[in-house]
Point group: C2
Chain length 145, copies 2
């Protein structure tokens, strides 16, 4: 069985936060949008509907936890409001199955359009990135018990 490896393009644009039931969770290093990327830890997946059996429920659980963690991080670390979450699998550029969970704010840089392909990403300041990593990984750990 092939090994799960994160696509180098995703690895380069994001930082590892931790593991949930099905997915590895990464924070997109783009200060314009609070944005997590969830990668099911299985090799060879490209489409959402390839998930089978209990993995569907695991993904829903992971999305719920990730969204909650992002909401907490927005409220505490970033002190930034959010109005809607975008939850999406596109995969037009990187085929490896990955699900975006993005906190959107009316008035953010791409609102109301989608974030993908919008302008150029802006890296977080080091201290903000550290604080986000700490807060997000704490929330994930607590959820995993």
């Amino acid at each position: 069985m092939a090994e799960f490896i994160v696509d180098p393009r995703i690895e380069a644009s994001s930082v590892l936060i931790g593991d949930l039931k099905l997915c590895q969770v990464r924070l997109q290093n783009d200060a314009r949008f609070p944005w997590l990327v969830l990668l099911p830890r299985q090799a060879g997946l490209t489409e959402l509907i390839q998930l089978e059996g209990e993995d569907e429920a695991r993904l829903f659980w992971d999305v719920r936890v990730a969204q909650g963690a992002l909401a907490t991080a927005c409220a505490t670390v970033l002190t930034r409001p959010y109005d809607k979450f975008n939850v999406a699998n596109l995969g037009n550029v990187v085929p490896q199955l990955h699900i975006h969970v993005i906190a959107r704010h009316a008035g953010d840089d791409a609102w109301p359009g989608p974030v993908w392909g919008h302008g150029t990403s802006v890296a977080y300041a080091d201290d903000v990135l550290d604080a986000l990593k700490t807060r997000l990984s704490q929330t994930l750990s607590r959820a995993m018990g």
Copy 2:
């Protein structure tokens, strides 16, 4: 309990195909992209994670059937290839919970970018729209038994 009503903006840009387990399924009337919109038939939903219990599995089932129906329609009615499906809840413009299922083709009008907010929609020719409605609703009916 509030009644399920389709947002008038979604109603205006799409045509009714039929019902699956959880969702009403509509075809976006945009000949540039084979594109279904799934609306859980419950009032007041805005976020994916508001779905509870069995509705998670119902949504997955609906997406699987919708994607299969779209693939069949691409292969038969549209004779148009597809390379990836985009499955997404955004809701930045229309808050009512709806899930996009879109057949993407490397070389389509927005590839590899997202379709939302890209250019102006192009209505299907009447005969193509009729053929699509027939084929899609047949596939949905068969899946529902």
